[in-house]
C-alpha cells in the first residue's frame, strides 16, 4: 500500500499557498545583509499577487535574488519561492534587456577551452590591472574580484591522453562541468582517482555547460537549450545502464532536478534516476560495506562548508559523512549559510558589496573555528572562501584522493599546503 500526498500540486506561479509565515525571511542571505532586497516572502509570493503578464515589470530589485534556493528548503508550505523570483527576473530582464557583460559571462563555456589552450597569456591578462579596470569600467565586472585562472591541459584533454582502462570493471560516467574542465582540473583528476580506487572504470561522456549560469540571468530559453543538448549527450550512457556522478553541486542540481522539475525537459527523469553526487555515491558504497578503498589517517583540523545548491539536492551532507571516515581527521560543519558569491552574481560590480557582506559572516565563523583547511563541493564557494580566509580550500574529493591507502602517483597528505589564517578585519558597512 502506498499513499501519496504531494505539496507541489499547485501551478508554479500560484502565490496563495503562502501563508506569509516568514520562515523564508530567516533563511535569505540577501535580505539578511541589505534592505534593498525585500526578501523572499515579499519578492516571491507577495509581489506575485500584483504581477500581470500584460503589464510591464516594476521589480527593479528582483535581480538581487541570488537563486541560492535556501528559501525553498525552509518553506513549510511548499511555496516555489525561487521559481516565482526566477519568472519575475526573466520578465524584468526580457523587457529591460540583458547587458553585454551578462551575455558574455553566461557563455564562458564557449571560450573556456580556447582560454585553456592559451592559459599563460590569458591568465596574465586576467591579472593585468589595466585590463581589469577596463572590464570594470566598460562591462561592470568588479576589479576587486579575483578572476579564476585557466589551466592547460583541460581535464578532458588530460583524461583523453590516459591509456584506456576497459578491463571488465563496472563503468561509471563522470560529469565534470565547465570549471573542472578548464579552471580546476585537479577536482576531476581526484574524482577519477577515487572512482578507480573504488573499483570502477571511468568514462567521461561528451557534455556541455549545464546551463545554470543562464538561469541566473533569467534566460529560461537558453537554459532549456543547454538542457536539451546535455540530455541528448548523456542519454546513451544512462541507457546502457551506466550511472553518472558529478562533483559540482550546482551542475548536479541543474541536471538532476531543474531539467525535469523546472524546465520539464523530456528525458530528464531518465537521466536523474542514474545521476548521483560523487560523495553520496561513495558514501553509499561505504555504508553497504561494498567500498574497495580505505583511507589513511590524516591528523588535521578541517572545516566543511555545505554549498547552498547541495541543500535542494535533498541528500543530506554526504561529503561530511564521507570525510568522517578518514581516521584522525577532525572535520566540522561550518554553521553559516551561503558564501555570497552565488556563481557569477558576486563578479558583477553592482552586486559586489552584497556578496562581500554575506561572505563576511562565513569568514567570521571560520575564524572562530580555526581550521587548517576548508572543504566544499562548489567551485564558486571555493573561490570565495580562498579570498575570505586565505586558507587552502579544496573539494572534499581532493582530500579523499590524497588519503587513499593506495594513492598511486597522487600527492601524499603531508604535501597539502597549509597557509596561515589571515582574516581581514571588518570595515565600515559597505551597503549604506
Amino acid at each position: 500500500m502506498t499513499q501519496e500526498n504531494d505539496k507541489r500540486i499547485f501551478p508554479r506561479t500560484f502565490p496563495d499557498v503562502c501563508v506569509r509565515c516568514a520562515t523564508c525571511m530567516a533563511a535569505c542571505p540577501v535580505s539578511r545583509v541589505t534592505p534593498r532586497f525585500p526578501g523572499p516572502k515579499q519578492a516571491g509570493p507577495g509581489a506575485q499577487r500584483f504581477r500581470s503578464a500584460a503589464e510591464a515589470s516594476v521589480d527593479d530589485w528582483i535581480e538581487l535574488c541570488t537563486s541560492c534556493r535556501l528559501c525553498d528548503t525552509v518553506c513549510p508550505a511548499g511555496v516555489p519561492i525561487s521559481d516565482l523570483n526566477l519568472a519575475a527576473k526573466a520578465k524584468f530582464l526580457d523587457e529591460r534587456g540583458r547587458t553585454l557583460r551578462d551575455w558574455f559571462l553566461v557563455r564562458s563555456d564557449l571560450f573556456g577551452e580556447l582560454a585553456s589552450r592559451y592559459a599563460g597569456k590569458v591568465n596574465r591578462l586576467l591579472e593585468n590591472r589595466v585590463f581589469r579596470r577596463l572590464l570594470d569600467a566598460l562591462f561592470g565586472i568588479d576589479r576587486r574580484r579575483d578572476l579564476p585562472a585557466y589551466e592547460t591541459p583541460t581535464f578532458r584533454e588530460w583524461f583523453g591522453a590516459r591509456p584506456a582502462t576497459e578491463d571488465g570493471r563496472p563503468r561509471i560516467g563522470y560529469f565534470h562541468g565547465c570549471f573542472t574542465n578548464t579552471n580546476e582540473t585537479d577536482v576531476g583528476k581526484a574524482a577519477v582517482a577515487l572512482l578507480e580506487a573504488h573499483g570502477f572504470s571511468v568514462v567521461v561522456p561528451p557534455q556541455r555547460c549545464c546551463g545554470i549560469p543562464r538561469l541566473g540571468v533569467g534566460d529560461l530559453r537558453g537554459a532549456r537549450e543547454m538542457g536539451k543538448r546535455n540530455i541528448g549527450l548523456l542519454l546513451p550512457t544512462v541507457r546502457e545502464g551506466t550511472d553518472i556522478v558529478f562533483t559540482s553541486t550546482s551542475c548536479g542540481l541543474m541536471l538532476r532536478h531543474e531539467y525535469g522539475r523546472l524546465l520539464e525537459l523530456p528525458g530528464a527523469g531518465e537521466i536523474a534516476e542514474r545521476l548521483f553526487d560523487l560523495c553520496d555515491f561513495l558514501l553509499g558504497l561505504h555504508r553497504e560495506g561494498k567500498a574497495a578503498a580505505r583511507f589513511r589517517p590524516l591528523p588535521m583540523k578541517a572545516a566543511y562548508f555545505a554549498p547552498c545548491h547541495l541543500r535542494p539536492l535533498g541528500i543530506g551532507l554526504p561529503a561530511l559523512e564521507l570525510l568522517r571516515l578518514v581516521p584522525d581527521l577532525d572535520v566540522r560543519l561550518v554553521e553559516t549559510e551561503c558564501c555570497g558569491l552565488a556563481g557569477l552574481y558576486g563578479f558583477r560590480k553592482e552586486k559586489y558589496d552584497i556578496a562581500e557582506e554575506i561572505g563576511r559572516d562565513l569568514a567570521a565563523e571560520i575564524a572562530r573555528m580555526k581550521p587548517e583547511l576548508v572543504l566544499t563541493e562548489c567551485e564558486g564557494c571555493r573561490m570565495q572562501l580562498r579570498r575570505l580566509t586565505g586558507l587552502t580550500v579544496l573539494h572534499p574529493v581532493q582530500l579523499l584522493r590524497n588519503v587513499l591507502e593506495d594513492h598511486g602517483d597522487f600527492p601524499r597528505a603531508e604535501e597539502l599546503p597549509i597557509p596561515q589564517l589571515d582574516l581581514q578585519p571588518p570595515g565600515t558597512h559597505p551597503l549604506q
Binding site: 500500500m1 502506498t2 499513499q3 501519496e4 500526498n5 504531494d6 505539496k7 507541489r8 501563508v19 509565515c21 516568514a22 520562515t23 525571511m25 530567516a26 533563511a27 535569505c28 535580505s31 539578511r32 545583509v33 541589505t34 534592505p35 526578501g39 525553498d72 528548503t73 525552509v74 518553506c75 513549510p76 508550505a77 511548499g78 538532476r256 532536478h257 525535469g260 522539475r261 530528464a268 527523469g269 536523474a272 534516476e273 553509499g284 555504508r287 541543500r311 535542494p312 539536492l313 535533498g314 541528500i315 543530506g316 551532507l317 561530511l320 559523512e321 568522517r324 566540522r332 560543519l333 554553521e335 559572516d361 565563523e365 572562530r368 571588518p426 565600515t428 558597512h429 551597503l431 549604506q432
Partner: protein, 408 residues
C-alpha cells in the same frame, strides 16, 4: 536502499527532540522536514503549563491538572517524563545561553503585544523580563524596524518607551535576521548600547525586541548590560523568531555532529505498509522519489500549518499514513463564535489518539501500526496554545516517543 534505526517526520520541536533523544542513545537517525520547523516561527521560551500560578511549584501543581485530563498528551508522559525531557533540552544549551526557571514555577514575561504571559524555562536573554517592574523599565524600539512596535509595548505594559536608530545609518528597513546578525558584532552592539544609554533616565531594566544576535546572544546581553548599567531582556515578537532560530540551529548542529541525516526542503509523500508495520517513507524531490527505510518511525509533522493534518469541508485527515484522526463533531462544530475568544476552538483538540506508548490507535483503541509513533502538537486532546503548554508537549512527547521506539 538505505536503512536507519529511526526516521522522524517533522522538524519542529517535537521532531527535533525525538531525533536528538534517539541520536543520544546511539541510534542512526534520519529526520525529514518539508521546511524549517515551527520552532523558528514561534520558539522563544519553553511553556509547560500556563495555568500554574507564578510562585507555585510546577512539579507539585501539574499532577492534579494531568489527573483531571486522562486523554491529554501529558497523561501519557506524566511529570516525570516532562522533567527528564526538559533536562535533556537544557543540556543542549550550556551557559551562558542557558534555559532556566525563575524559582520552581512559571514566571510572567512581557510579549511583543505588551502583555504579560506565563512561561516556564527562559533563555538567558529573557530572564530579566521576569524581574522587571513598570516603573523601572525602559522599552526600546528600533527605528525603521517594523516587526516590533515599542510604543505599543510600552503603552500596554505601562512603562516608559523610546526608539533609537540603528548604529549604522542606512540600515533602517533591515529584517530581524539582519539586525540579529549585526548584533553578533561587538562594535555594532556597543553603538546600540551607547544610543540606549543616551535615552535612559535611571531605569534598571531595558526591554528590546528579540534580536540580540544569532551566534553570541549571551555576549550581546553582557555587552549591553555593561554599557547601560541596567538588566537587559529580549521581548518575543512577530515571526520569524530569532530565539526560535537559535533553538533550531542548536538542535541541527548537535544532530549533525552526532551523525544524524538531516533532510530539509522536501515532503514525505508516501509510505509503504506491510503486515501492520511501516516499511519505508518516500520523499519527493521532483523528478525523483526516494524511499528511506528504518525499523521505527515517529510522526511529528505538526497540525495544520506544517501539513501534519489537513481539513476539507467534512473531515480532518492525516495525509501521510492516513492515521485515524479524532475530530470534534462536524465542521459546523469546529469553531467557536468569535475568532479571538479566550476559550480554545473545538478544532484545536483534533489530532491523533495514541496508546500509552504514543502509538496511534483507531476508534476501538487498537494500535494501527506497530512501529509508528506520534509526537508533538499532532496529538489529540490538547489546546497547546490556550494551555500555554506548546513546548512542554513537544519536548515531552518527542522524548517519550524516541525512548519507547528504541527500547521496544
Amino acid at each position: 536502499m538505505k536503512r536507519w534505526d529511526l526516521i522522524v517526520v517533522g522538524m519542529g520541536l517535537a521532531g527535533l527532540t525525538a531525533a536528538r533523544t534517539a541520536a543520544g542513545m546511539g541510534a542512526k537517525v534520519l529526520i525529514i522536514g518539508r521546511g524549517m520547523g515551527s520552532v523558528a516561527l514561534f520558539g522563544n521560551s519553553v511553556d509547560v503549563l500556563g495555568e500554574v500560578k507564578p510562585g507555585t511549584d510546577m512539579a507539585e501543581s501539574i499532577g492534579a491538572w494531568i489527573a483531571a485530563r486522562p486523554e491529554h498528551p501529558y497523561a501519557r508522559t506524566g511529570w516525570k517524563v516532562i522533567a527528564a525531557a526538559l533536562d535533556e533540552f537544557r543540556a543542549l544549551f550550556p551557559p551562558p545561553y542557558s534555559f532556566e526557571t525563575a524559582g520552581a514555577g512559571n514566571s510572567l514575561v512581557p510579549t511583543g503585544a505588551g502583555t504579560l504571559r506565563p512561561t516556564y524555562l527562559l533563555p538567558a536573554t529573557m530572564a530579566a523580563g521576569a524581574a522587571m517592574t513598570r516603573e523601572e523599565t525602559l522599552i526600546v524600539g528600533l527605528r525603521g524596524f517594523k516587526d516590533f512596535q515599542g510604543d505599543t509595548v510600552s503603552l500596554h505594559l505601562g512603562c516608559r518607551g523610546t526608539a533609537v536608530s540603528l548604529p549604522r545609518y542606512g540600515l533602517e528597513g533591515l529584517t530581524a535576521q539582519g539586525i540579529a546578525r549585526l548584533m553578533d558584532e561587538e562594535s555594532f552592539r556597543d553603538g546600540l548600547g551607547e544610543a540606549i544609554r543616551g535615552q535612559m533616565a535611571g531605569e534598571r531594566f531595558i526591554g528590546l525586541p528579540a534580536v540580540l544576535g544569532l551566534k553570541d546572544p549571551a555576549g550581546a546581553l553582557k555587552g549591553l548590560e555593561a554599557l547601560t548599567g541596567a538588566r537587559v531582556f529580549e521581548i518575543p515578537m512577530l515571526p520569524p523568531s530569532i530565539p526560535g532560530v537559535r533553538i533550531f540551529h542548536r538542535f541541527r548542529e548537535d544532530l549533525i555532529a552526532r551523525g544524524a541525516t538531516f533532510l530539509m526542503g522536501n515532503p514525505a509523500t508516501g509510505v509503504s505498509i506491510k503486515d501492520g508495520r511501516c516499511e519505508g517513507i518516500a520523499v519527493h524531490n521532483p523528478p525523483l522519489k526516494t524511499e528511506y527505510r528504518a525499523d521505527q518511525y515517529i510522526l511529528a509533522a505538526g497540525r495544520f500549518l506544517g501539513g501534519g493534518l489537513q481539513a476539507d469541508m467534512e473531515r480532518i485527515a492525516e495525509p501521510l499514513f492516513d492515521l485515524p484522526v479524532f475530530q470534534p463533531g462536524e465542521r459546523g462544530e469546529w469553531f467557536g463564535e468569535r475568532f479571538f475568544q479566550p476559550e480554545a476552538h473545538p478544532i484545536h483538540s483534533a489530532g491523533i489518539v495514541t496508546d500509552a506508548d504514543l502509538r496511534p490507535v483507531d476508534e476501538r483503541g487498537k494500535v494501527v501500526l506497530a512501529n509508528v509513533r506520534a509526537a508533538g502538537t499532532i496529538l489529540a486532546h490538547h489546546q497547546a496554545v490556550e494551555e500555554k503548554a506548546r513546548e512542554g508537549i513537544a519536548i515531552a512527547t518527542g522524548y517519550l516517543a524516541a525512548k519507547r521506539a528504541l527500547t521496544q
